[in-house]
């Protein structure tokens, strides 16, 4: 409890991170309230096409080229962005941590093998790799999440390996080995808690990258065809860019704000979780 209080005290000191947290909570509220505020399907054509924002009272963000409510798309899109961003990051962090922990703890041939695999995944250009995976597996929310996780785990693996290599030499780990504690228990209960700070910070920044990747894939037409995502709206609005640029501008701005908020929160987490770095 005291640790949590300390954490919050340090996090609070970073004003920008607090602002980021507020924005992020706003996006979360958007995602959670989407079905209540906009019960209809965001794909439904509910109005005249090309209604500019502010032109009609019921459509405060206007409508797109097919007469779909942009506000509805924006709220439902928030849900997809956050869901894919956090789910993909969670998978990537789990896989990366496992790989990194095994490599850093056992060293030797395990390390060699796992790091070769990591190197392979880092050589293949990430975004193009994600495109290929989604194109092969057919676009759906699950496959997009899987593809993003598949291209993001290597950086976590490298980070965790480094932490484990360093922590493994510390006295408390050596002591655990000499009293006969099992490997799994040492990894999970002794070393991992001490490596958690950097993992959380990297994870929060990875959510931002994952949201950008999802938007990029959806923009290219590789999003789930049944789900309205911010990138999908931009991809559609592109055809009407000359006459109705607001269709593209609004969801893009939402992506920018969300990613900015995540980056700010990530920096705040870094200050709060790695206080030694800050005092330098």
């Amino acid at each position: 409890m005291k640790a949590l209080k300390d954490f919050w005290r340090r996090f609070r000191r970073n004003r920008a991170a607090l602002a980021g947290l507020v924005i992020l909570l706003g996006v979360l509220v958007m995602a959670l309230s989407a079905t209540q505020l906009f019960p209809g399907n965001p794909w439904d054509m509910v109005a005249m096409p090309f209604v500019w924002p502010g032109q009609e009272r019921e459509l405060w963000l206007g409508s797109d080229m097919l007469g779909r409510d942009l506000a509805s798309g924006l709220f439902h899109g928030a849900r997809v962005s956050l869901l894919v961003g956090f789910a993909a990051t969670l998978v990537a962090v789990l896989v990366g941590t496992t790989m990194g922990a095994l490599a850093g703890y056992y060293r030797g041939w395990v390390d060699d093998l796992l790091m070769r695999i990591t190197e392979l995944f880092q050589t293949i250009p990430q975004f193009i790799f994600a495109i290929v995976v989604v194109a092969i597996l057919t676009p759906s929310v699950q496959n997009v999440t899987l593809a993003i996780a598949l291209v993001s785990w290597p950086s976590v693996a490298r980070l965790v390996r480094g932490e484990f290599l360093a922590l493994r030499e510390r006295e408390f780990v050596q002591a655990s080995i000499s009293i006969g504690m099992g490997d799994l228990r040492i990894i999970v209960t002794q070393i991992l808690p001490n490596a958690l700070g950097p993992i959380i910070v990297t994870g929060s920044l990875m959510v931002a990258t994952a949201i950008l990747t999802e938007a990029g894939l959806a923009f290219l037409g590789l999003g789930d065809p049944n789900i309205m995502s911010w990138g999908t709206i931009i991809g559609g609005g592109r055809d009407a860019l000359r006459s109705a640029w607001y269709i593209t501008a609004i969801p893009g701005f939402a992506i920018m704000l969300t990613v900015l908020a995540l980056n700010l929160v990530g920096e705040g987490l870094n200050d709060a979780l790695n206080p030694r770095l800050k005092s330098r």
């Binding site: 880092q122 250009p125 193009i128 290929v132 923009f219 860019l241 920018m256």
Partner: protein, 337 residues
Amino acid sequence: MFRLPALPITWRPSESARLIGRRLLKAIPLLLAVIIFNFVLLKMAPGDAADVLAGESAAGTPEYLAELRARFGLDRPVHEQLVSYVVKVAQLDLGYSFRHNQSVLELILGRLPATLLLMVTGLVVAVGVGTSLGVLAAQKVNSLRDNLISLFAMLAFATPVFWMGLMMIVLFSVHLGWLPSSGMESIAAGYSGLTRVLDIAHHMVMPVATLALFYVALYTRVMRASMLEVFNQDYVTTARAKGLSESRITWRHVLRNALLPLVTLLGVQMGTMLGGSVLVETVFSWPGLGRLAFEAVFQRDINLLLGILLLCSVVVILANIAVDLAYTKLDPRIRMS
């Protein structure tokens, strides 16, 4: 008296030549792994080359399909197929694109120059602008200038590239009419010589700016942090004590050392930049590899897509070797083992 042992007078390859050789040798297993990985992806795709070809000619009788499979060796066990795939790729045979009626390698090599032009220019702009902004910010920490630069970097870092490109088209093409919104040159105008170069440069402004923006932000942040760290080192204090001017210290003494983290990043970023160029080329209809990849997705041309993925991986491997070389040149203390 201390004497160096006499060196045998034989030809010795230079340090960098040996370094390149060693790194190329090390890259071979990695390349092999990439090829095998590509094969696995190819096998995961629904339908094989025979299905595609039969679909093209709309003659999908089972006998015809079986005949096609036998001709392509698709009826053999998977491990034999893998070996023949690796051998084929090693001979630079990446297969045939039935949609474009051209071999995949020809297609890719035809589109590569446009992408490289975009990427190299983008990289130069990103390093130049990012370094300058980072140095300017670090010179006066926490001043208004520093805060403005940091704010810009923060925003640019969070902006989706394709959206930035689209918004630039709205402003500079649709409303102001200053810049062309698509393509690489005005082909119909039939320019040649210098006018053609200028025409291409005119078309490049927005795609390069869009592609570079994210990296400008990244390098600004990295350079600022790196400069601040080097400023605190003892040799900088010595230089100050010697009475050197602040600008000489910044540009001659600190910058060179502060550049090292940025060079490391460059190698890592090659791959992400290739990915970014898919989006940028799609937005600006730039006739490069990225646009080809986008078309391949829609034509379900998995073979072409995998060829692009493979070639991009090769570009990343080569870029990493180049970065290692640059590293040893920048910092003679570092020896690659």
